[in-house]
């Protein structure tokens, strides 16, 4: 192992719960504490840039957002396609091979939209940043897929693809034309041609021919990435909001992490209805319309707290559950982000 090792923090959770903002707030807090932090978002929206108060687009390479004494805050936005192209370029044995892969129609569509490519590239990027000695801490905001856990299986995406037995059957004729295609699969092969036309088959064969000899390289890399994702020092945080559906989703994710033996560091529940304090019966009688609003918000908070309590039970006592109150205004600057950050004490600390 190299002397330098960057701590990784992975934020998981369903869509619309404020994951991107939370990742940014955690990064800001760690930077304010004097660490060199890079936050990675996969969201195509400009949310992170907005929250960080960065004008212009973030790119696929980290850029420095702000200095805090010794601390630094960096940010980048994952470009899955570009990361994939870079990965191919660095793994290929020759420029010609890289070129052949890039020009293949199937590769282009895989790099653009094969399910899991985003997660795969997020993991790849995280792995690159893990070895980048500019940073002490890298925080990644995972893609908002329903199965947020796809992220953990993502490093194997390409290997699985290259291993697929149907593909190997497709590829067989291309390797010298002597290998006999499995008889059992022939009718399927014909049916596929009837369904999607011969062009697709040609693209597939070209794709696998172009990858010839690279399997082992990708397999090794997937193993290294998996090791980093499952390392004890990598921190997992589940983000949720207090509504019923996100809480159910968070409960599911936490259960899956347990099943995969990955230890959860913290749960962050965003957008809690604030506590406005108690009012007397006289106050309620004196201002009935104000009272109606107060009552509505108090009841809502109570339901939220109840849901969160049941989540706490699932999580167990040793995991920190932090709550962040819903704010009266949108977070669009570092100052707003600081308010959130102040509620997130101790979450980015490195485990020993």
């Amino acid at each position: 192992m190299t002397a330098h090792s960057t701590q990784l923090l992975v934020c998981m959770g369903s869509g619309g719960v404020g994951k991107t903002t939370t990742a940014a707030a955690l990064a800001l807090r760690a930077a304010q504490e004097g660490r060199k932090v890079c936050v990675v978002t996969i969201d195509p929206a400009k949310r992170l840039a907005d929250a960080l108060g960065v004008r212009g687009e973030l790119s696929n390479e980290p850029s420095l957002v702000s200095n805090f004494g010794d601390g630094q805050l960096w940010a980048m936005m994952l470009d899955a396609r570009q990361t994939f192209v870079d990965l191919i370029a660095s793994t290929s044995t020759s420029a010609e091979q890289a070129e052949r892969i890039h020009n293949n129609a199937l590769f282009s569509s895989i790099a653009r939209q094969l399910g899991g490519t985003q997660e795969y590239m997020a993991a790849e990027k995280l792995f690159q940043l893990h070895r980048d000695d500019r940073f002490d801490l890298v925080i990644v905001d995972t893609p908002p897929s329903r199965e947020a856990l796809n992220f953990l299986g993502a490093p194997n995406t390409l290997v699985r693809f290259l291993d697929h037995r149907v593909y190997r059957t497709f590829l067989a004729p291309a390797r010298g034309g002597l290998k006999i295609v499995s008889a059992a699969l022939t009718p399927i092969f014909k049916a596929v041609t009837r369904l999607v036309g011969a062009d697709v088959i040609t693209d597939v064969i070209g794709f696998f021919a172009a990858f010839e000899g690279l399997d082992q390289g990708f397999r090794d890399r997937a193993e290294s990435i998996n090791a980093v994702l499952r390392d004890r020092s990598t921190t997992y945080v589940v983000v949720t909001s207090p509504e019923a559906e996100p809480i159910r989703e968070a409960t599911f994710i936490i259960g899956e992490l347990k099943r995969q033996n990955i230890s959860l560091s913290a749960v962050i529940c965003n957008a809690m209805t604030p506590d406005f304090g108690v009012a007397t019966t006289n106050d309620y009688i004196a201002s009935p319309r104000h009272a109606a609003v107060h009552q509505q918000l108090s009841e809502r908070r109570l339901r939220e707290v109840t849901r969160l309590d049941s989540l706490r039970e699932t999580v167990g006592g040793d995991v920190k559950v932090a709550t962040v109150d819903l704010m009266a205004h949108d977070v669009t600057s570092l100052v707003g982000l600081s308010t959130i950050a102040s509620a997130l004490e101790g979450i980015t600390e490195r485990r020993v």
Binding site: G15, P144, D199, S241, E245, F276, D283, S287, R289, H290
Partner: protein, 281 residues
Amino acid sequence: MTVDDVFASSRTIIVAGKGGVGKTTVSAALACAAARRGLRVLFVELDGKPIPTELTSGDGHITTMSLTAGDALVDYLEHHGLGRLAKRFASTGILDVIAAAAPGLDDLLVLGRIKALDRASDHDLIVVDGPAAGHALTFLRVAHGIRGGIRSGLIATQAAEVGEFLADHARCSVVMVTLPATTPVTETVDTALAIEDEIGIALGPIVVNRVLPDDDTTGETCTSEALRRSVEFYRSRRQLQLESIETLQTLLPLSRITLPDVDSPNVIESLTTALLENETR
């Protein structure tokens, strides 16, 4: 325009929206509202999520269905004389393979099945709880996208037919669900414009979900700090909502249905009532 006009405008309604906006709840409420108007409704769930029990324990006006790409493929093969191969397709995992070689194929098969359900005319209204997260556009774009990639074969024909179905305003429309907040509104506007311009699908009203009603406290005196603070908070949240609804209206001048913010176990029931009472603006 009322919710009845929405039901009358096309037989199939595809409900689209990002994760967290309440898409499934709104889809379910639309189905319930239509059933209450006496329509025979088919509710189609695409993500393998559980179907809300409000729909399955109903009065028989609503039929529900979970539709996956695998089911759609088997169904498609059976209708095209390839039925004997259907099982083998499933067991060899070949769908993954073709889907990877022809991205969007799974979406296309699902839309093709919806098109077939629409043509069968067994129902007055088909409510499709659209795909999760940000995939609505990819999903709807597929008939165009796949025709670029697949130039021959049965699927090319299927893509052309699905394209016609989506563009036929009398058969199919898209109802987008959003929240009255900055990011969801921006994303909805972008997606809506792309749906109309690129794909030519008819957009029904935009459903703005979880809108806070007027607090109605103007002019009332209040000496309690707790009450005052809660009203202040409520008002500034509501003000944010009104601002983003205004942005939505400026950038996307379509009719709107606003639904109230409900946090209770019977959300679907409350939203159904709200839909039936609501005049779209």
